[in-house]
Subunit: 404 residues, 2 copies
Amino acid sequence: VRCEVVAIGTELLLGIITDTNSSWIGEQLALNGINSHFQVKVGDNFQRIEDCIRTALERSEAVICCGGLGPTQDDITRDVIAHIMGGGMQRDDAIAEEIRRRFEARGRVMSANNLRQADVPVGAMPIPQMPGTAPGLVCPIGDKVIYAVPGVPSEMRTMMEGTILPDLRARSGLTDVIRSRVLKCWGLSESGIAEMLHDRIVELDESGHATIAFQASGIEGIKVRLTAKARDEETAREILDIEEALVRPILGEAIFGVDSETMETAVIDALGEQSLTLAVAETLTGGILASRMTQADPEMQIYRGSLVLADPGASSPHASDLPAPQRAFQLAEQARQELRANIGLAALTPLPAEGMAPGTVIMAASIGGQDIIEQVILFPDRARMRTYSVISVLDFLRKTLAAA
Amino acid sequence: VRCEVVAIGTELLLGIITDTNSSWIGEQLALNGINSHFQVKVGDNFQRIEDCIRTALERSEAVICCGGLGPTQDDITRDVIAHIMGGGMQRDDAIAEEIRRRFEARGRVMSANNLRQADVPVGAMPIPQMPGTAPGLVCPIGDKVIYAVPGVPSEMRTMMEGTILPDLRARSGLTDVIRSRVLKCWGLSESGIAEMLHDRIVELDESGHATIAFQASGIEGIKVRLTAKARDEETAREILDIEEALVRPILGEAIFGVDSETMETAVIDALGEQSLTLAVAETLTGGILASRMTQADPEMQIYRGSLVLADPGASSPHASDLPAPQRAFQLAEQARQELRANIGLAALTPLPAEGMAPGTVIMAASIGGQDIIEQVILFPDRARMRTYSVISVLDFLRKTLAAA
């Protein structure tokens, strides 16, 4: 089964909203083994929406229409689909009742317009998941199908996962379960990982049990995605477990997390396990590290905070008598003491006078006053250095904790 | 002239990259009075790219192809366009030389593949702006036109602004200049602004000199866009100047910036004018404010830094004897003193025991030890409170400085 996506809304064409729904849907279709060759954006215009859907139905077996299911006069996706199905529209009393109930529950007054959302093309079935007031639709056209989902990303995702992906898989005759697991890596290049895993990939290609793919994701590192196809959930998980156990020793400590884990949560977890707390001096990362850590640890029980300040070595002629590694340690120690943590962390760039390679970043940790110092070389432009040094310095701490 | 966008690249369909180029192009086309009714994503497949371009040429006068101009075998946009133009491909020696020169300048070795980028469909003209190694193309097809630009956003934008938008405007017979200016506002609702500007909008509609439009932009506030159409640049600027002078007194101090100015740059500028420095205690904003301020003032000459820490009032039973406004002031004063600035700033949420409305944020400034305290009520969920309090507290400081 091939499936196209038609994203509907004039605000998408005008660039007022960026269409991220199609990207997400495209990723999900790929993960489920369904091809998607075209994805289109079209405005709130009856004729043009109709043209897009008809063209899509000619070259594919399924079309997902995203958006235009709201209560206003602009929202005409339902009407266009009813026209294509050729049977008019009828009000679904159960949906009308449900919409009424939701307005009452929120203490809001429902306008007559809102009941338009309960109008369903004859022959279409409402999607049972209905997180908002816009019902989704499954609309069979001969042996092909149009799905309609709201443009609100969370509502769209719920319907995709609950109804559309399983239906597409059934239509594709895919009774197998496809599951994947992402191993997130830092400190290796994409080509380096490809080389390290080369033999494993060849073996898998021959066995057909699972696949491995890579995806460079900027400061999120490189994602190694293991995908297994199996007759049921449990078997798929077993294949992924076996595969992960084979891949881990090859990539070693470069793997910092699995699936939704991030470098921040990896560091917070490692600190938590050893009952340690952390404070950071951010002369280079300028608060970016703090903004990520406070999101991962909002109660700040483990991450105790940051001192965001200008590098004192760069301004005072006095402090700059110390070489960069000692200055970095001094900053780490200052953060540790002022914010009363077990570990202090700092990253800075050497002064031009120190003659180190452009892009050099010195990272220092004070573990209860004991110094650990390392350096990396990053892209020498300031913006990238700021963001990449955040994950570099967290990775440095993660490896330091693992070695302890 | 109607202009469609065809974004080319399998990674766009798979959701590995989100297509933000089409949104930006759509916005620019709209600002230049050019209609764009369809925007399509298609993978790196010759036949399917050809189908998309042919369909677009049937219903529109211009097509912008974005992506697929790189040096690898996947990059086939040039080949498809040459096929549609019907005249084959020929190497452009000047471009080949330029590509060679750029590789040498960076000290890199050029592979033979890279010269593919110098192959130009017969009848096409290279776009003079060439910020990377992928040349853009203007390809006339009868009285219609295909433009090809690289998928790298900065390269695409340079070519759009330097060649494609002027060419489209000339093709549309739009000899008028369209210019716009964005007034960024904070502290008013979209409907409030619409009401305040209602009379002005009616007058403009009648005069036809300029238009006013609004766009809510989350934590960037509400953008009020003034657009003028005139016979030349200077006249357009004059109309915008007059219009801005009429709108400013109506919206008053809600306007914090123009065009690319942000709340951060507005605050930095206001501090700079009064030769003041700033330090911030971030118990609530958790480093988000710092990460934005250090981007606006990387040398940290005016913004001196932040203390990112847990609200001491929330943990110590001692400090919480003080009511929230005093605690906020105490934090502001602590940041001011520790980071040696003229002004200290802080924002915090009251403790549950203080019984204030959910979403209440207390903002305090210490101006050389003098306290100024205010409060706002934001969405009570943590993530939104964190981000919205950043701009709220900066706006509080901006207004405080303006009143001084």
